[in-house]
């Protein structure tokens, strides 16, 4: 089945106050959606990311690696987390992306993977 990335985007300045009622509500919504996805056999992976300021960026030229403190794109919008889902087709994936943006209360970008990753051998 095709796999899709559903990435969650928000403002760089965004700081989650885990204790706030807003964050609690959002976590509960996302938790419920994760359960629904698992039950439907759609869920492959999902998690939130620490702030973009915690990132380290690597680049290489002719084998020589440079390391920079910070995210790759100096953008106001940063990825805050993502889902990897497995859906029958685009229409099914769109349905999950609609639910995702409502649950996490942020912008969600849906993008197909190039190819399906084979399941690990037991």
């Amino acid at each position: 089945m095709p796999q899709y990335l559903m990435s969650v985007w928000h403002d760089d300045e965004y700081v989650v106050d885990f204790e706030s009622p807003d964050a609690q509500r959002m976590f509960a919504q996302v938790g419920a959606l994760n359960k629904e996805m698992m039950a439907a056999g759609v869920w492959v992976f999902a998690n939130g990311l620490m702030p973009a300021s915690s990132a380290t960026t690597f680049t290489s030229e002719g084998g020589k690696v440079s390391m920079i403190d910070g995210p790759y794109a100096e953008s106001k919008e940063q990825m805050g987390g993502f889902w990897v889902i497995e859906a029958a087709d685009l229409d099914a994936a769109l349905g999950w992306a609609r639910k995702a943006t409502v649950a996490c209360e942020d912008a969600v970008e849906l993008r197909p993977f190039q190819a399906e990753v084979p399941a690990p051998k037991q």
């Binding site: 095709p2 899709y4 029958a88 087709d89 685009l90 229409d91 994936a93 769109l94 197909p112 190819a115």
Partner: protein, 416 residues
């Protein structure tokens, strides 16, 4: 009997979309199907003048295109066996990794009526922007050439070519399904299809540029597509509404310009030049819609066109009825386009002052660059005797008009 170029053109217009739609289903790849159909028509252009048009030209084209595509796949699959699997669009009930047995496809190709519908829903997929939906619809279902589509929408040929390639790739990379949507999705998805057809019609009907032939082609294609939807989904009142709307509007085609190509307003048109057959068909469809009693925006717009068509003279127009219909339309679609037309109707019913008041309800910032707003306002101001303001509004409308025919009309209005 030998086939003429005209005959081939007729077959092309009628069959191109259907053949492409069928081959996409069988081959699972939009570009492969598109290329194969183009190749089959090129072969027909060579063969038919010598051998005569075959008894079933559509089947001939589909089968020839299919064989060509299979030949090409065989050549390519010896190079890369994974080509097909990687490029195949997903079919509705495909269980596992697609791996078609090529041998099965030789000889006869079954044409399914639903194929055209599937292709319409694919072209108008909600993951695509409206621009891309309309361009794909004209390209794949109408067989329009990219330069013509570019001309119709006033964009550079290269931009349009890129738009088409990007749209096809997006559908393929995202595994867009090739099917008629389920009942739950249908209302929204069908609306996107009807909206795209309506954009095609408007592009042809609104005189954008001088290419008369292209404009007529666009209107005819929109009507043809609306007919296909109605034929395949006879229970959808909005599809009927769109067909009626395009027929009733297109009925005025010959009366909209004079011998010198000047634009003639609805009120000044010679109603004897309206196409009575199209009006009669539009009326018949509207009566069927009324019986269903599930109004929607295309049906209401068609009803407005029908009221105009009913009036023997402009003075006999039932404006009360038209204002009531615009009120209904505005409740469904409260945007500036509807509000402006509603103001025009109110201006006819209760005088230009009332029309201007209705225009004031529109957020002026939102329509600062919208030509119809300024043209309508200019006309209402002129009729209220507010000459200076009217001239200024006409000047703004002229600035915003690309079409020479319309610019000439507005310039003449300003002068009188």
């Amino acid at each position: 009997m030998s086939a003429t170029g005209d005959e081939l053109a007729t077959v092309f217009r009628r069959e191109c979309g259907l053949c492409t739609a069928t081959l996409i289903r069988i081959l699972g790849d939009v570009e492969l199907a598109e290329d194969a159909v183009a190749e089959a028509f090129a072969i027909a252009a060579e063969a038919w003048p010598r051998s005569g048009t075959p008894p079933n030209p559509g089947a001939w084209i589909t089968t020839t295109a299919h064989n060509r595509a299979i030949d090409r796949l065989r050549r390519e699959s010896s190079r890369s066996g994974r080509h097909l699997a990687a490029h195949r669009l997903l079919e509705a009930n495909m269980e596992s990794e697609p791996n078609p047995e090529l041998a099965e496809f030789d000889d006869f190709v079954d044409v399914v009526a639903d194929d055209q519908l599937r292709l319409m829903f694919l072209c108008c997929h909600p993951a695509l922007g409206v621009d891309a939906q309309v361009a794909l619809t004209l390209r794949l279902l109408g067989g329009f050439k990219t330069p013509d589509i570019a001309k119709a929408f006033l964009v550079a040929e290269e931009t349009m070519a890129q738009r088409l390639v990007r749209a096809k790739r997006k559908l393929r990379d995202n595994h867009a399904p090739y099917r008629v949507p389920s009942a739950a999705e249908l209302p929204d998805r069908l609306h996107a299809v009807l909206a795209a057809i309506s954009v095609v019609f408007t592009a042809g009907h609104t005189a954008i540029r001088g290419d008369e032939l292209l404009r007529v082609d666009l209107c005819d294609e929109a009507i043809r597509l609306a007919r296909v939807v109605v034929e395949l989904m006879p229970d959808e009142p909005e599809a009927l509404g769109l067909l009626a709307l395009t027929l009733l509007t297109d009925a005025r085609r010959d009366a909209r310009t004079d011998a010198d190509g000047r634009m003639i307003r609805l009120a000044d048109q010679d109603r004897a030049r309206w196409d009575r057959a199209r009006i009669a068909e539009g009326h018949l469809i509207m009566r069927a819609c009324l019986r269903r009693n599930q109004p929607g925006m295309f049906q209401i717009q068609a009803a407005i066109a029908a009221v105009h068509a009913d009036a023997a003279t402009a003075a006999a127009t039932d404006w009360r009825q038209i204002v009531a219909l615009y009120d209904q339309l505005f409740a469904l679609r409260p945007d500036a386009v509807v509000a402006i037309n509603r103001a025009v109707a109110i201006g006819e019913l209760d005088g230009p002052g009332a029309g201007l008041l209705a225009l004031e309800l529109i957020d002026a910032d939102g329509v600062a660059s919208y030509q119809p707003f300024h043209a309508t306002r200019a006309d209402l101001l002129a009729r209220s005797g507010r000459r200076e303001e009217s001239d200024a509004a006409y000047s703004r409308a002229i600035e915003l008009t690309e079409n020479p025919i319309e610019r000439r009309f507005l310039t003449e209005q300003r002068a009188c």
